[in-house]
Amino acid sequence: MPEVQNQNRELVRRYTDQPARLPAELRSRIEAEWDGAPVYLYALADLNAQLTLEHTWVALGPERVALAQQSEDGEWELDHVRRDRIQAVRDAPGLSGSVLTLLGEPDQPALARVRFTHRQRRAMENLKFLLEEAVAFGPSADSPGSAAPDRERAPDVNADDEYARSVAGPIREAQALVSGNRMAVIWRLLGYLKPYRREVTIGFLAATVITLVSLIPPYLAGYLIDSVVRPVQDGQLSQGRGARIAWFAVAGMGLVYLVRQAGAVLRLRMMSVLGEWVARDLRTELYEHLQRLSLSFYARKKTGSLITRVSSDTDRLWDFLAFGVVDVSLSLVMLVGLSTVLLSLDWKLGLVMTVPVPLFCLAIYRHGESLNRVFVRAWRKWSRVTDVLSDTIPGMSVVKAFGQEDREKGRFRERNYAVTEEYNRIHHMWTTFWPLLMLAVHGTTVAVWAFAIPRLLETGETALSAGTFVSFLLYTTMFVAPIEVIGQMARTINRATSSAHRVFEVLDTEPEIVDVVESVRLDPVEGRVRFRDVTFGYDGVQLVLKGVNFEVQPGEMIGLVGPSGGGKTTIVSLLARFYEPTGGAIEIDGVDLSRLDTTHYRRQVGMVLQEPYLFHGTLLDNIRYGRPDADLEEVVEAARAANAHEFIVEMGQGYDTVVGERGQTLSGGQRQRVSIARAILNDPRILILDEATSAVDTETERKIQEAMDRLVAGRTTFAIAHRLSTLHKASRLFVVKNGRIAEMGTHTELLGIADGLYRRLHELQVELA
């Protein structure tokens, strides 16, 4: 966790125009003026009364709120508001700025007003939450079952960490990982090659051989001219000996090409296979890690983004590892090798050829950068085209119903033409650049000619031999490919590090639910559930559950009712151990839930959700998902109990019907009954039903209700329902409101509470019925 906190501070420092924490001297001064009382939490208001960007720190302590502004001479000007004077907290969110007002007596001027942009919103909401809790429950409002009032206790968070987390949060959510040292990421990626050292060595050796032997043919050509052809023509070498040497050279040339191509086969095969192995290892590691991660991680990340990481990102890394690494390193070797050979053959001519090389690399890099801007523009316009498609194709019935086909055709045509214009701009750019670059390369060749010809015609020591000249010309053609690779090196590395960041972010995320070393297995779970002063907040400060206490006996059915957002789903999520409580404890059969073996425990917990999820596969596979070894008799029995058997056999392929994505479409009620059959077969000791009968017709609801009545028999059940009629079998009902259990008892007991929440809900539903 400290690592995450440091990253948050680093994000605030790097990406925002505000300090990463409350200045230490200011904090000391505030605490001194508060007689040593600590700063619980703080936030930054970044707008002043004139709505220009100016910083005001807002710090919250046990008895006061401090507002601090720095004057022009650097001194801190402090104002304090006593918390016992605050009677209400008012928040007025706007388009891009909000106003938080601390109110005292009615119709009196506000105690304080701060304005801030959305960037500060999360930190401000934390302050607001604590202030409102204190206003609502006050120092003496310690109602049964509620958490101790916040005015009395310090929030269990570090103020600096909470502030940095709040400000950095949106950036963290958007960015895969804090962009750290790019080379460190590359090294980490290359670490995945370690298990394949042998293959990497062979691949690199083969690539090095290819590079080096490529330098031989031009040299041989020059040698043949200078040492064989001309001496034979000048009569300095016999024709027979010349022919022998020439044939040796030809054989040598053949051998060079043979070795080169053998090396190419070895290199391509070795590195592409190796790249696949590394991509496979990454995919496996990534998927296995995803299985370990807690649900809170999935709540933060979009499914599509995670799928991309396992598929496209690992594929892109394959490309980089298989070819990118070798191409880039060998192009560097090739350029150095070529330059060395040319300079050693003839340094003057060598300089003419090598000096422009860095300029060519730079030109390609700059061209890539310019193209990148146009690509961004084309990408944007392309997304406008796909927007029309994703809007209209699923909504075609609306388009037709309103007779808007022509309008949609016009919209698509306009965007399609616009994107084509951008692509043509790209084509115009590269079709101009590359011929020009080649012209420059040829210009270098012409320069080589221009420098070489006078020396070719000379005699004496400074004369240039025809063979050396021919070698030069052949080497010249070899410059183009490595220049291109080097010029695009930055882009290749950028793409690979982006993918690596996304992959490593997942791998570096620690699961929040971790079993203790000697975890306990309850075999079987009896189903006694106890919540002891359980508090929970998804983000640490704002509590969703504020002290929940109850005890449930094995086999009891508990109905959870109450307004949306009250905490019902959070209670059952904690029971399934999807999250850990922030405070208090949950006991199952007298054992703290955090001490249980999570997987073993969850196998004994069944869940039937509002929107049941069926996997792609047969109905049989889906019903047997929790118990793949269940025999067919058990499956049919479970389906019968779930009122699913009849509709299943009506389908042509019965239990072998393929459902889920791309499979047979089932109605909501049918999917629900399959999920109940799945739960029945799994024989859970604790059962969670979350709005399992909502959004179905009355007849289907009756069938589901029947199925559920069979399912709940003999199990500890927690059922969330808005329709109170579905809870007729509940032994007790818990009314959950604002994170607390407001009422608890049987249907009759709760109806007996005058002005009770349950009674109001019941009356409302009876009226509607």
Binding site: Y15, T52, E54, G94, S96, I171, A174, L177
Partner: protein
């Protein structure tokens, strides 16, 4: 809705000492919050006044038609509620892993912010472009052609 439009004409608004906007109509007074129905295409018309339960207390068809004191009170509330940062100059736009970082000078002061790579400036009905950063803050570029040459050059890939 028509009733609300009609009732809007007899509406009185004031800012009370605590800074809250209050609306009074037909003897009924209510603390209200302002929301523009068309913040970009018709910023001064159709202003909705919501109570603390987010229910519409009244709809003001045209702020300019209110009597001066009420108009002043609404305009002050609208300035806060409709606040967006107004970009005067773009210093740099850099792409990093999954985010794009903008360094800009706004009418309200210098600011750096981030957008997702696939989040583009949006053309708004009344003209100009709106950029939304990862935190949800809005940056308004009223007239891109009025920006300096470097800003226009940097903006070129993202607008039009």
């Amino acid at each position: 809705m028509i009733t609300n439009l009609e009732r809007g004409r007899s509406l009185r608004l004031e800012r009370r000492p605590d800074g809250q906007l209050w609306a009074e109509q037909g003897g009924e007074a209510q603390a209200v919050w302002v929301r523009r129905c068309f913040p970009w295409s018709e910023p001064t018309r159709f202003v909705s006044l919501l109570d603390s339960e987010k229910k519409e207390f009244a709809l003001v068809p045209d702020v300019r038609a209110l009597e001066p004191a009420s108009r002043e009170a609404v305009e002050a509330a609208l300035a806060e509620a409709g606040f967006v940062l107004q970009v005067d100059r773009i210093d740099s736009v850099d792409e990093e892993v999954e985010i794009r970082t903008w360094a800009v000078q706004t009418k309200q002061g210098p600011r750096s912010f981030q957008t997702r790579l696939d989040d583009w400036p949006r053309e708004v009905p009344g003209g100009g472009f709106l950029i939304r950063d990862v935190a949800g803050d809005l940056y308004y570029i009223g007239t891109p052609s009025a920006l300096d040459a470097k800003s226009r050059e940097l903006l070129w890939a993202y607008v039009e």
